[in-house]
Amino acid sequence: GIQVEQSPPDLILQEGANSTLRCNFSDSVNNLQWFHQNPWGQLINLFYIPSGTKQNGRLSATTVATERYSLLYISSSQTTDSGVYFCAELNTGNQFYFGTGTSLTVIP
């Protein structure tokens, strides 16, 4: 299956700071998604972004499919941004492969 590498594994931010999370893929990128897992375990869709750039409020994402990576930007972070961020990609067998996540803690 696809190898998905996320960095950094852990991140601690002061409220109001900006951050960049990264996903690298071992194979082609065609159906990339970013998720946020809140402290209760729910996985929330952030972006479906196989290529290009999308923005949603303080969050934006960029995927460079030709170089097999994607970036998630969080600006002006808030305590409610805390949780684990996952990226995932679909392989040819219709299976999504997830990275091991970036655990973000935003402190007031």
Partner: protein, 112 residues
């Protein structure tokens, strides 16, 4: 909004019991998935289904079976629960052609 619901948020079962976890989606999605999530191991695919009565094994199907009799419902069955099946179970659905996945709230299963 897409809604994926799971039958229980928390479940405690005894070793050897038969366990049913149910997932229902309300958006007529073709694809449905069952994952388990464990610390340090991330999300791993157990089974998925791309149509009614169709199923495909994921990466870790051993000890599990699934049932999809109706398009909106996908059940995960632990035939004889074991302590190593204590985990968070997440259901997801997606539609063609985008494959964008939507997750349910998860079921934390403890097997004692």
């Amino acid at each position: 909004d897409v809604k994926v619901t799971q039958s229980s948020r928390y479940l405690v079962k005894r070793t050897g019991e038969k366990v049913f976890l149910e997932c229902v989606q309300d958006m007529d999605h073709e694809n449905m998935f069952w994952y388990r999530q464990d610390p340090g191991l991330g999300l791993r695919l157990i089974y998925f289904s791309y149509d009614v009565k169709m199923k495909e094994k994921g990466d870790i199907p051993e000890g599990y079976s699934v049932s999809r009799e109706k398009k909106e419902r996908f059940s995960l069955i632990l035939e004889s629960a074991s302590t190593n099946q204590t985990s968070m179970y997440l259901c997801a659905s997606s539609w063609l052609p985008s494959y964008e996945q939507y997750f349910g709230p998860g079921t934390r299963l403890t097997v004692t």
